[in-house]
Subunit: 206 residues, 2 copies
């Protein structure tokens, strides 16, 4: 059976705590590698180039797209975001499960290019809890909270296209559930085509 890494895409509404769960996974299990996206948005205070994002300008980003150096990309609020191919390829070949924290538009691009990718959507325990968390951040105006909820409503239409949904009620439990799912994802036929082919051909040639 194929023990190679799985491209694991994690999406979720703003306010579901995706980032915290991803950091916990990478810290507690050594078989994950967290992909760093490229973006044309400005760094926020405390963000480090190459850690949160690879910060770049628009001409360089578009050149990367043209040269097929990004496995997915999308545009939000006039800024570009994308996933560099070289890091993903390298980590997969090292046997790591590569975590991509991207939204639905990019997630579906990944699924199309890599049918073996596994897509996980993180849900809040309830819609009330989501509102509470967004307001509780204290960093956003009521207008911004409303915009995020509007976008969440839109994103929610695509949840059925994911392979799995996980509730983030408790960060540890959520990370453990994702790890269970990634281990299970290695048993999918799409991840074991070579092995299935070898058994099948062996039987047919008898």
């Amino acid at each position: 059976m194929n023990e190679n890494g799985v491209i694991t895409v994690v999406s979720g509404f703003a306010g579901t705590g995706k980032g915290t769960v991803m950091k916990k996974l990478v810290r507690e299990y050594d078989h994950y590698a967290l992909s760093v996206s490229m973006t044309t948005r400005d760094p926020r205070p405390g963000e480090v180039d190459g850690r949160e994002y690879f910060f770049t300008d628009e001409p360089s980003f578009l050149k990367a797209v043209e040269e097929d150096r990004l496995i997915e990309h999308a545009c939000y609020c006039g800024k570009y975001y994308g996933t560099p191919r070289d890091y993903v390829d390298r980590k997969l070949s090292e046997g790591k499960d590569v975590l991509l924290e991207i939204e639905i538009q990019g997630a579906l691009q990944i699924k199309e290019k890599f049918p073996d990718a596994f897509l996980i959507f993180i849900l809040p325990p309830s819609s009330d809890e989501l509102v509470k968390r967004l307001r509780g951040r204290g960093t956003e105006t009521e207008e911004q909270v409303k915009n995020r909820l509007k976008r969440a409503g839109h994103e929610s239409e695509g949840i059925e296209k994911y392979d799995a949904v996980v509730v983030n009620d408790d960060v540890s439990a959520c990370a453990d559930a994702i790890d269970l799912l990634v281990r299970a994802a290695k048993f999918r036929p799409s991840h074991n085509e070579d092995f299935i082919g070898s058994v099948r051909n062996g039987i047919l040639s008898l």
Copy 2:
């Protein structure tokens, strides 16, 4: 999230040790219920009605089909086999994961009727090992072994329609892998439609 039971279909070539694995699962984990099929074939020595199979005659079997009391059925070598609905329904409502050991024809019927069913195909470690196990049984003629291999070749064409493949190299490891898969199957969107709907409707109504 939905903690209800999952209909788990296990298939595999003759000689892969499906039966042993299923018994181990039921013995070691208390959340499984093993479905007993109805058949028109004669009991073999040692088989008990209601344990290995519900033995019946053809008119009774066909009446059960007509009255939609079987969730799948198929015919092999002139004998009918089918899965009674009442046992499956009762065990699922008790929160049990119901194991069905059936072949590909029945498995695909189940998937069509219950999109939430989870289909697992057990593979031998290699085609050579499969031949060795079939011959090693010592109960079959070389002609019967050849027939089983021919059928295995045919069945192997459908493996990609399953949700997962598991190698039975070691019975305990194989049972543990199946248990991992069944636990992971509860996170599929198709198993959590009500919860996803409640979060979505909550957000959209804000």
